[in-house]
C-alpha cells in the first residue's frame, strides 16, 4: 500500500513538472521549432526579450498593477480580517462565505460585467480599471491569509496591552500590527503573484496598455515568437516560484 502510494506520488510530480521543465528547456534551444531533439544551447531568446520594447512596456504595466493591487488588497483584507475575528457579530460566517463566492465566478463573466460597468459609467479603460478588477479577485485571498493569522493570535495580547494603559489606537500600532506582520508579507506576495499572472480581466480591461500575460497571448499568433514567449515564461516561472516559496514559508512559520 505504502509503496504504491509513493510511486503514485512520484508519477504525479513528474507529470506536474513536465511542462515547466519543457518550457525552460526550449527557452535555451537554438530553434524556432518546439520539437525534439534539442539543438544548440543559446541565450538569444532572452536577449531578444530584453530588447523588445512592447515586452518591456507590458512588464512595467504588470509591475505597476501587481504592486498596487497587492498593497490595496492587503489593506482591505486586514480591515476585513480584523472586523470578522476581533468582533463577534450576527451573520459573521455568512459574511465569510459571501466573500468567497465571487471567486467562484468564471473570470470571463466578471470581465464582461466590469467592462460593461466601466463603459457605461464612462470611466473608460486604463491601468486603474485593471487594478480595480484585480482587487476584486485578490482581496478574498488577502482576507483568507490574514484571517488565519488573526485566528491564530489570542485576543489576550490586545487586551493585555489595553490593560497596561494603551488605548485602542496605540495598541493597534504597538501590538496588533507587529503580530500580524508575517501574514501581511505573505498576503502581499500572494496577491502580487495572482495579479501578475492574471490574464482575462487584464485582457478585457487593459485597453491599449497590455500586461505581460496579455502580451504573451498576443505573441501566440506568430509561431516564430514562441521561443521568445518561452524565455519570458521561464523568467516568470522562476520569480513566481521564489515568491510562492517565501510566502509558504512565512505561512508555515506563523502557524
Amino acid at each position: 500500500m505504502r509503496k504504491v502510494r509513493l510511486f503514485y506520488a512520484m508519477i504525479y510530480f513528474i507529470v506536474l513538472y513536465l511542462p515547466i521543465v519543457l518550457i525552460i528547456a526550449f527557452s535555451f534551444n537554438d530553434s524556432v521549432y518546439i520539437a525534439f531533439p534539442l539543438k544548440e544551447f543559446t541565450l538569444r531568446w532572452y536577449q531578444a526579450a530584453m530588447e523588445n520594447q512592447q515586452l518591456l512596456s507590458a512588464f512595467s504595466n504588470s509591475m505597476i498593477i501587481a504592486v498596487t493591487t497587492a498593497i490595496f488588497s492587503t489593506f482591505s483584507g486586514l480591515l476585513a480580517a480584523m472586523a470578522t475575528t476581533r468582533y463577534r457579530f450576527r451573520g459573521r460566517s455568512t459574511a465569510t462565505i459571501l466573500l468567497f463566492v465571487p471567486l467562484a465566478l468564471p473570470t470571463v463573466v466578471t470581465g464582461v460585467a466590469l467592462l460593461s460597468i466601466f463603459m457605461m459609467t464612462g470611466l473608460g479603460l486604463s491601468l486603474g480599471t485593471v487594478i480595480l478588477g484585480h482587487l476584486m479577485i485578490c482581496t478574498p485571498f488577502s482576507y483568507g491569509v490574514l484571517v488565519s493569522r488573526f485566528e491564530g493570535l489570542s485576543p489576550d495580547f490586545e487586551r493585555a496591552s489595553m490593560d497596561l494603559g494603551e488605548p485602542p489606537l496605540t495598541t493597534f500600532f504597538r501590538v496588533t500590527l507587529p503580530l500580524a506582520l508575517p501574514g501581511l508579507v505573505s498576503s502581499l506576495l500572494l496577491t502580487f503573484t495572482i495579479s501578475f499572472d492574471e490574464f482575462i480581466l487584464a485582457f478585457f480591461l487593459s485597453s491599449n496598455s497590455p500586461t505581460l500575460p496579455v502580451f504573451m497571448w498576443s505573441q501566440m499568433r506568430f509561431p516564430d515568437r514562441l521561443p521568445l514567449v518561452l524565455a519570458l515564461a521561464s523568467v516568470v516561472i522562476i520569480v513566481s516560484s521564489i515568491l510562492i516559496v517565501i510566502s509558504q514559508r512565512l505561512r508555515s512559520k506563523q502557524a
Binding site: S154, D156, F157, R159, A160, S161, M162, D163, L164, G165, E166, P167, R174, V175, P178, L179, L181
Partner: protein, 361 residues
C-alpha cells in the same frame, strides 16, 4: 461594608439569554489575598475581567478605593491583570515586555532600565531582560506576566488562574512565591482558580461561586470546617453526606436519626432545626473513627486505595445509598489487620467534627 477597598454592588452580566454573573455583591479588603473559587463556567473569570475593565457589567456598580470605576475603560483603571495565557508579547524582549506599561510615564532610558531591572529582580529573573519570550519556560513566563503587571503599580492585581498551565511541582513553589511577593508589594490580589487546594493554601478570604452566584465568602478554615451548604461541602475537599431526619432539638444539641448510623446527638452550631427536617450529616473522610463503641456501625469494604500517608476505604452498609469514603492513617490501618475488600470494619461518626446541612440544594 462601605469602607471596603473594592466593592462589587449587585453586579450582573448577561450574554444574550445566558446569565454569566447573577447579582453578585462582594467586598474585598485592602492588601488582602482574595480568591474567587469555582468550577469552570461559574462566572469567576467574567467577574475578574469586569473588575479589570475588559468587560462591562450589564448592571451594577464597581467601587474601587472610593471611586465608581464601572464605566472606566481598562486602560485608565488602576487595576492590572495576569492572564491565564500570560499574553507575553512574542515580538518584544523580556525587558520590553516588563517595561511595556511605562511608556506613558515618559521616563528617560536609564530610569526605564532601572525600573525594569528592579522588577525582574523581584520576580527572580535578574539578567533575563534581553531574552526572547520563546526562550522562557512556563514558570518564567508566569513571572514575566507578573512583573509586567506589577511595574505600573496597580492598586489591585487580578490573576486569572495564573498557575493552571504549570506542572504540579512548579505550581506549588510558585504558590509560595506568589504569596511572598504579595506580602512584599502589599497590593490587593484578586485570584481566580478552580483548584480548591490552591485557594485554601493562598487566600486570606475565599468566595465560592457556582452558576454566576457567590455561595459562601469566608476565610479558608471556615470554608473547610463549616461549609454553608451541600454544594460548597462537595466542592471544597471530599465530603460524605449521610442523610438523616431531625428527631428533636434543644438550644445546644440536635438529635438526628440516620438510617445508617442510628440516632446521634450533634452540636447545633448556631443553626436552627425543627423536628422532621430532612438533613445531611456531612463528615470529612478523615473524621470517622475506627471504634467498637455503641455508636459504631459495621460496614463492608468495597474498595481500598493506598495514598501514601493514608488508606482510603470505600464502604457500604445498611441504610447507605452511596458508599462512604473513609480515610485512615496507614499506621492505624495496619494495626487493624489487612483490611482488604469484603472485610468488615466498625466505624463511627464523631459529632464534634460533623456539619449538619439542609438536604435541599
Amino acid at each position: 461594608m462601605t469602607d471596603a477597598f473594592i466593592s462589587l454592588q449587585s453586579i450582573r452580566k448577561t450574554y444574550g439569554p445566558v446569565v454569566a454573573v447573577d447579582n453578585v455583591d462582594l467586598d474585598i479588603a485592602k492588601g488582602s489575598f482574595f480568591s474567587l473559587l469555582g468550577p469552570s463556567g461559574c462566572g469567576k473569570t467574567t467577574l475578574l475581567t469586569m473588575l479589570g475593565g475588559l468587560d462591562k457589567p450589564t448592571a451594577g456598580r464597581i467601587m474601587l478605593d472610593g471611586v465608581d470605576v464601572t464605566s472606566v475603560p481598562s486602560y485608565r483603571r488602576p487595576t492590572n491583570m495576569v492572564f491565564q495565557s500570560y499574553a507575553i508579547f512574542p515580538h518584544l524582549s523580556v525587558g520590553d515586555n516588563v517595561g511595556y506599561g511605562l511608556r506613558r510615564q515618559k521616563l528617560d532610558r536609564a530610569e526605564w532600565q532601572h525600573r525594569v531591572d528592579a522588577m525582574l529582580e523581584l520576580v527572580h529573573l535578574k539578567g533575563y531582560g534581553d531574552r526572547q519570550p520563546s526562550q522562557l519556560s512556563g514558570g518564567q513566563m508566569q513571572r514575566v506576566a507578573l512583573a509586567r503587571a506589577l511595574i505600573v503599580q496597580p492598586k489591585v492585581l487580578l490573576l486569572d488562574e495564573p498557575l493552571s498551565a504549570l506542572d504540579k511541582r512548579l505550581r506549588q513553589s510558585m504558590q509560595i512565591e506568589l504569596r511572598a511577593i504579595q506580602r512584599e508589594v502589599g497590593i490587593t490580589f484578586v485570584f481566580v482558580t478552580h483548584d480548591q487546594e490552591e485557594a485554601l493554601t493562598l487566600s486570606d478570604k475565599i468566595a465560592v461561586m457556582s452558576k454566576g452566584k457567590v455561595l459562601q465568602c469566608c476565610p479558608p478554615t471556615d470554608l473547610y470546617d463549616l461549609p454553608i451548604n451541600r454544594e460548597v461541602a462537595e466542592f471544597v475537599g471530599e465530603m460524605n453526606l449521610i442523610p438523616g431526619i431531625v428527631k428533636g432539638c434543644t438550644t445546644e444539641t440536635v438529635c438526628i436519626s440516620m438510617p445508617s448510623f442510628g440516632d446521634q446527638q450533634f452540636p447545633v452550631g448556631g443553626r436552627s432545626f425543627s423536628k422532621g427536617d430532612k438533613v445531611l450529616v456531612a463528615v470529612r473522610p478523615e473524621n470517622f473513627e475506627i471504634a467498637d463503641g455503641p455508636e459504631g456501625r459495621e460496614l463492608t469494604i468495597v474498595n481500598r486505595a493506598y495514598f501514601g500517608t493514608h488508606l482510603h476505604f470505600m464502604m457500604t452498609g445498611e441504610g447507605l445509598e452511596t458508599p462512604l469514603t473513609v480515610s485512615v492513617p496507614s499506621a492505624i490501618a495496619r494495626a487493624h489487620g489487612k483490611a482488604v475488600n469484603s472485610d468488615r470494619m466498625t466505624i463511627q461518626v464523631v459529632p464534634e467534627t460533623a456539619v449538619i446541612l439542609p438536604q435541599a440544594g
